[in-house]
Symmetry: D2
Subunit: 338 residues, 4 copies
């Protein structure tokens, strides 16, 4: 295997810092050389905290650096596609946070650039690397439940994002459910053909005023015949609720929430235990680390990353299908979206 | 409170024997005087086993007996409506197994007869009396989860019934899902307005050849805005899978399967525990007893039974809505069925 | 198999009523013909409630009845041994509540009478018939944990009995721990050789003033080399705490408490679930039924009952060993008690 | 708060590498400047892996370095006490792995040196920092269970150490149980007065030939009146079994094992789930990190570390009391050991 992988980080926001810390401290095969952010002081702070040699305002400084072999794109969503194109043209391997873009034509432009450049691209659907979901997938893949027949995904956030974020998020299906669409594909290694979505504004009227919904229930029909169901809420007062179940001809596998501790307390009023880990930073830390480790390994070993550009594109199509289904109150085929 | 309630049992099949044993042995307020069955030796055997004074071939012998105040109808489904009419006209209070009938007009005839006679009618949706689901309902009713937003019901049988039964069952939605439709109404004390159903033949092709499906996923839209999801299978190899969840603005309540024992065994290959209780007789014994106790109390105390004729009718409407939705692959309003 | 087993019930107190109901209503192979109690109105009430032909003040009326083949002794503890002797001399098979007596010489007299008469005797260590503990025993017996090495028994009551009862109970080791001593023998099918007990008065000073303790921790050394630990409290505010664990060379089996329902409620303050079933009537109903069914079967099939007089005697020896160990703060051999 | 804490690491074995990685990568407040090991290439490898400026064969090079404020002692157990003395005399703050020494006089010499030098000393009883046990302690400390009455600790290793290690370990009570003795003190914040230990050779006869036992059951009597029970095995085939329970006048708190994932798989043979995390590196990673973070904070904020030299000494006394109790088959007071 070659030397350490040299990387540059584009974007020093919350998720950028998370990846930055992992690259700088917890992934010995990574050599993080630079960070850029249009807010240069954020980049500088990150560089200082994690001991990076360079901090830039302009991500081109990273793309122009011949010592850097790969980039990790954590800038704002609307810039992802162009960043991918720029990075591909600069010959860099790319890890890009999800989604690639909310516009399918933009995604296609980005994927074409990646293909033309022959660089590797991994999209940040980190939940595939969660040890709990991974174990479920392994049980399914190894035949432990026979032929998959019914998938159930519960995915509820502890609290909605700010209204300003919701306004530019593309809507719940493209912002929150998109992770579950990826999970639905991952668990069965099968494609969804048709989607039916219902939903409503139950958490906060302001979300409705912003043109979005905050609660949704989505039915999936897989190509292979299996059925799927996803439910979403922007607010579970008891914390981050992330569970899946796959039922099949020979059994079922169920993934429960992860908890901060195993202590159970009984007193005269009942039995009490901890709530689920609060949100994605707590619940998915290991998965962020694992996806990046896998990206680095794939680049170093010249293997195809486990979450491809294609894998990044399809959940966006699913999001549009869900949106149209919700708007028109009828099932919508993915093939109608393209 | 008056004396014991005198009862006659119509139908000495499996469910008839179950109710017969409870009435004869476990419900001190009941005085089971007679049983009838068109197979008179089944009636005689039941009478002998549980010490009943009378066994008849003709249920009219029960209806004509002035010493009998109430009847428990466990005959075949297609006879329920007429039995109700006959019993009502004879002035007997009525406990009737579900469904009242598969034909809505027949149901309406039966309910009209009950109303005219002024007798009490309770329909046998026993799962409402399961201590697990009852506790969930109590948490919801007491405001423990705030405003209900999402209902999830998983209801899978351990094995499909014989094809001969399936052929006359009315189809999965009227035979299996009907219990879940009742549960969906019970948990929220709210009505469903619209249903969307998908499904397929995944368990046994013979079920498809009989014109039915064996796997289904049903979306519910409640009048109050909540959303619901039911999944059904005719065969879960690990046993009877009966779980519900209600999520709301202030919390969630989840009901897990009941198990025969609490022993957990760890060895070098993993952690192992018992499968769920095998089927409805094991899982719902207590609920059959509790529903009958409640019926007897309501008659003796002149109160309205907890599962009325109206409660018996609506799940049939829901079954037809689900069937039409499945056939036409579109959401169907309950108001379109009437 | 012969006809139904005809029985008489001696003692119409709480446990007598429980057995009486089971014999009269839930055990078709039993024919309960009579009940006696020195408080004859209690006997009459029981006879009326469960439809028994005879109610007596004097238990000799039962013993003298040639139609009665077996007796169930539920009278006060100090009368058990003499009742056994009388019943044996009358040629009746005997089910006797635990303990046989608190005096070993009296026990030996009773067992000698049983042996001389050639009747069957089963002692009411009902917990062996609890489906949870039974499953643990079966896993141990089938080799699922290899060679047993460590046994842990937690046995805590929800509330102490009245002080008046404690004064005549023989002390915690002979009254409460006696069940756990039986369980310790049952789980391993091995004998205990040596006992070390510590304890104290932590629940109620009045228990101390009555010469007893209310909290205890007992170490067992088995003949086969395994070690055991029992902890007892007279008051667990969260209810009846009844758990066991057996650890061995190839694994471990753990039995958790049984609960009234499986509902789990999460809100902003935590995860909440039901407390264990409150006390022995709720937790052990099935085991009382199962032990009696087994007694009846053994008599009818002429087999040795599963809990013999010997099994009834040894836990009393263990109770004395524990008491001496506690008093002298040193390990005591069972062989020192005889 | 002052600058980062500068540290040197003494010992580059398994536990040294674990602390080294945490200090170098995961504790931003630490500045790890050097490592020493009598096997200098181990030190050099560690320095290279984690980017440390210096690697020495002689720990005196660290003690002599005025730029280093604190040392982390991970050398072999028999050197700990002298290392503490040397470090104290050099004016370094000290984190030392447990146990300080197996000889109480040596411990006292070391503690005297620490006191004379006025440096801080924290002993590595990391399990106090496990989030599960910590939560149990917090529930106890906050009065959630009222007055503590019974403590149960189950502590079983997945596999015994090599015989060569066992020969110099001081025996099971000083090597394995010592952690549980510390846990017993931590959970109640109370001292143990008397100990009774039983045990045997059940895992491997070679352990017996080495003069040790491999299975033990220890009774504790606390000064405040509570009772405790610890059970140990050198081999649980299902992995690392680490559970505690504290029962009191107002409730109970129970800590279950931690698991690698929450997936549960049901098929026709039963319900299956993951085994506990395999051994201390997996189970206690977070606790090793947390104890070191706490040490660094205490030094930087001039506070007394949470696990003092006194806390390091008492479990050794308890180990000797247990050993004597086992040898003489009688309860032994800690006051008899000094």
């Amino acid at each position: 295997m070659p030397e350490k992988l040299t990387l540059g980080l584009i974007g020093a926001g919350r998720i950028g810092r998370l990846h930055g810390e992992h690259l700088a401290r917890r992934l010995p095969a990574a050599d993080l050389l630079a960070v850029s952010d249009i807010f240069v002081d954020a980049a500088q702070r990150l560089a200082a905290d994690f001991g990076l040699p360079h901090a830039y305002a302009d991500h081109r400084r990273i793309l122009d650096d011949p010592a850097i072999a790969a980039v990790v794109i954590c800038s704002s969503t609307d810039t992802h596609a162009q960043m991918i194109i720029d990075a591909a043209e600069a010959g860099k391997h790319i890890f890009c946070e999800k989604p690639i873009h909310l516009d399918l034509a933009e995604i296609d432009r980005a994927l074409a650039a990646v293909e033309k450049a022959g660089v590797k691209l991994q999209v940040g659907f980190n939940r595939r690397f969660d040890p709990n979901f991974r174990q479920a997938r392994e049980i399914v893949a190894s035949g432990g439940i026979g032929e998959p027949q019914i998938v159930r995904i519960t995915s509820r956030d502890p609290a909605p994002p700010p209204i300003g974020y919701i306004q530019v998020s593309g809507g719940i299906f493209l912002d929150q459910t998109i992770h579950d669409f990826d999970m639905a594909r991952f668990l069965l290694a099968d494609e969804v053909e048709e989607i039916f979505a219902v939903g409503g504004v139950m958490v906060d009227p302001a979300i409705g005023e912003a043109g979005d919904i905050d609660t949704a229930l989505i039915t999936l029909r897989y190509r292979g015949g299996a059925l799927g169901s996803i439910d979403n809420s922007r607010r579970a007062v008891y914390g981050y609720d992330q569970r899946v179940e796959v039922f099949g001809s020979e059994g079922v596998v169920t993934v429960a929430n992860a908890k901060p501790d195993t202590a159970v307390h009984l007193n005269s009023t009942g039995e009490h235990a901890a709530l689920p880990l609060f949100f994605f930073v707590e619940r998915y830390t290991e998965s962020y680390l694992a996806e990046m480790r896998e990206f680095i390994t794939c680049v170093r070993e010249d293997r195809t990353p486990p979450v491809t550009g294609h894998d990044g594109r399809i959940p966006v199509v699913m999001g549009y299908a869900a949106k149209r289904s919700y708007d028109e109150n009828r099932p919508v085929k993915l093939s109608d979206i393209e």
